[in-house]
């Protein structure tokens, strides 16, 4: 039997309040998010469906998708590992400078992409801090893939950590300590006790870091050689198309990026539903 709040005589009022809140949120999102997205979709198909697919199958576009996927494939797993470690360290220990560490982790949000590019060039560029070492070892970082990877990693660094820390703090250590008393190793505890309890925070973190990695433009524009069909990510492709008055291709690429971002959420939905079914099954037992 579910408990209900006392004010049932104001049930009608509460229903209206609920509807009003939903309406307000929808209008806000429409103004700020939905209408712009709609505009992008319309722009992508502005010259018809076949030009849209022509863009999608062109060599330059597919190469851009490949490079973006590569950059995301490198950046996201590393960011996840970092995020989990940092969250563990921050949420499970009290040490001096904890707040400073937290603020430093948040810093990439406020670093403007231009500044980020400037930093990477100051470090790895021809006139940069490490230029002598890099020349000696004949390693190319900027104007090559590693630069793109580094730029992508910097932009999305905080997400996983920031999503997981509050959950770790909220959930507490009781279950972990119980597992330890039962003889579980550190890795086992993490994998089977901690991870399930933080899974939603972790998932949101991964979704966000992936979306951010795909959409990274400013810093990559500075550190990439921007060679068409070779070192262009999807975002650089968009910019290139726009520069050449090819708005339709630009929007088409944006649509693909939006669809990819949406795909990660479809996966989330899938897992959510599976867990719900599992929970309901276990409740019925």
């Amino acid at each position: 039997m579910r408990v209900k709040p006392k004010s049932t005589q104001f049930h009608q009022g509460r229903e209206w309040g609920k509807v009003a809140l939903i309406a307000a949120v929808v209008i806000y999102l429409a103004l700020v998010l939905l209408l712009p997205t709609l505009y992008v979709f319309i722009g992508a198909f502005s010259r018809g469906i076949s030009p849209f697919f022509a863009t999608l199958t062109s060599f330059d576009f597919t190469q851009a998708v490949r490079l973006t996927a590569l950059a995301v494939g490198v950046a996201v797993p590393l960011n996840v590992v970092f995020g989990l470690c940092a969250a563990w360290v921050i949420a499970r220990r009290r040490f001096r400078g904890r707040t400073l560490l937290l603020s430093i982790i948040d810093l990439p949000f406020s670093i403007s992409p231009i500044v980020a590019g400037l930093m990477l060039v100051s470090l790895y560029g021809r006139n940069g801090l490490l230029s002598n070492i890099l020349q000696f070892l004949d390693i190319k970082i900027i104007f090559s893939f590693p630069g793109i990877a580094l730029a992508t990693m910097m932009g999305g660094m905080p997400f996983v950590a920031r999503e997981v820390i509050p959950i770790l703090e909220e959930v507490g250590t009781q279950e972990e300590e119980a597992a330890k008393t039962l003889g579980a190793g550190e890795w086992q505890t993490f994998w089977r006790v901690t991870l399930p309890s933080i899974r939603w925070g972790l998932f949101y973190g991964v979704v966000l870091t992936t979306a951010r990695a795909m959409g990274e433009y400013g810093a990559i524009a500075v550190v990439s050689s921007n060679l068409i069909g070779r070192s262009q990510t999807l975002t650089l492709y968009v910019e290139e198309a726009y520069r050449n008055y090819d708005s339709q291709s630009a929007f088409a690429a944006a649509v693909v990026l939006a669809a990819l971002a949406g795909a990660t959420l479809v996966i989330k939905e899938f897992f959510e539903r599976r867990t719900r079914i599992k929970n309901e099954e276990s409740l019925e037992e």
Partner: protein, 309 residues
């Protein structure tokens, strides 16, 4: 908790809710206390793998580039640096950047919390679609975001045309900058609050209801407080992101100094002028101010946790 349930009814609801709040807080304190580990037996145990990974990654990806920038700025004499950093145009850009970002973050704070609430607790048609759309500002290239927002909010655009009769010009004004900043930081607050809201224990709410609290009181005094850290975190991140935004703002703003020119665009201008020193100086100032603000908010959170718990 036992005496709580047997307390006679005449005692004010207020008192009972207070008790419930205190109970919640002691639970958090208990958790906090139990997370402080005993002093390690050997010093090398402190440098566990998570620590190692955290510090290494942080250093390579973030701290090294930041120090490269700072070192470059340090090659300027303090007088030089001060002159470049406090140039009147630069000062106005700091003002415009941080001020507008603050407004955008505040809007996101309220609207974002409402959005997360609606997405987690209510069911309505197209809810899934809405949920999926939230992350778009991250995935969308900033150029496209800029073009789209500018077109929609310009005087002939879908929304701009509705606002024009009211005398509101959005595109090419500071208002447009605010809109762009709101757009690119929508996901922060929503995605910060959503997981916490999802994990929130319903039994606490039901306990409050069983004591006779109204919906509003329960929401305000029992459900919202645990969300405040998440809201604050999300808002801080939204603010930080808004401060650094370049790609979409440069398109929607008129980029006139003293009007709507933001600091990142000023950095770009200095670069175009081949004024590396000026660009570095302003970039460093931006970095330092951002770090200080982030530190302040995080310290506030930590203090709150420690003393109100």
């Amino acid at each position: 908790m036992g005496e709580f349930l047997t307390t006679p009814k005449p005692i004010l609801l207020d008192v009972r809710l207070n008790y419930l709040q205190n109970y919640l807080q002691t639970m958090t304190v208990a958790n906090t206390q139990s997370t402080i580990p005993p002093a390690p037996k050997k010093n090398w145990q402190r440098f566990s793998l998570p620590w190692g990974i955290t510090i290494t990654y942080l250093s390579i990806i973030l701290l090294l580039p930041v120090s490269a920038l700072v070192l470059r700025a340090a090659t300027l004499t303090p007088g030089e640096f001060w002159r470049l950093a406090t140039d009147p145009v630069a000062l106005s850009t700091y003002n415009i950047t941080f001020g507008t970002a603050f407004v955008a973050a505040a809007i996101n704070c309220m609207a974002g919390t409402a959005t997360a609430w609606v997405l987690v607790r209510y069911d309505f048609p197209f809810k899934r679609v809405l949920d999926a759309v939230i992350d778009l500002p991250f995935a969308m290239p900033t150029a496209v975001a800029g073009i789209t927002l500018t077109t929609i909010y310009s005087e002939q655009g879908w929304i701009g045309a509705l606002l024009a009769p009211l005398g509101l010009r959005v595109a090419f004004t500071r208002l447009g900058v605010a809109v762009a900043m709101v757009f690119i930081s929508v996901p922060f607050v929503v995605r910060s609050v959503q997981p916490v809201l999802q994990e929130l224990d319903h039994s606490i709410e039901e306990a409050a209801w069983s004591l006779g609290a109204s919906h509003w009181e329960t929401t305000w005094r029992v459900v919202l407080p645990p969300l405040i850290p998440a809201i604050l975190t999300g808002t801080t991140q939204a603010f930080a992101r808004a401060v650094g935004e370049y790609g979409s703002v440069v398109l929607i703003a008129a980029n006139i100094p003293y009007q709507d020119l933001i600091a990142p665009i000023l950095v770009f201008q200095r670069l175009e002028q081949n004024d590396m020193a000026g660009a570095t100086a302003i970039a460093t100032v931006l970095l330092v101010i951002s770090l200080v603000l982030l530190l302040m908010v995080n310290l506030l959170q930590a203090w709150r946790q420690r003393y109100e718990g």
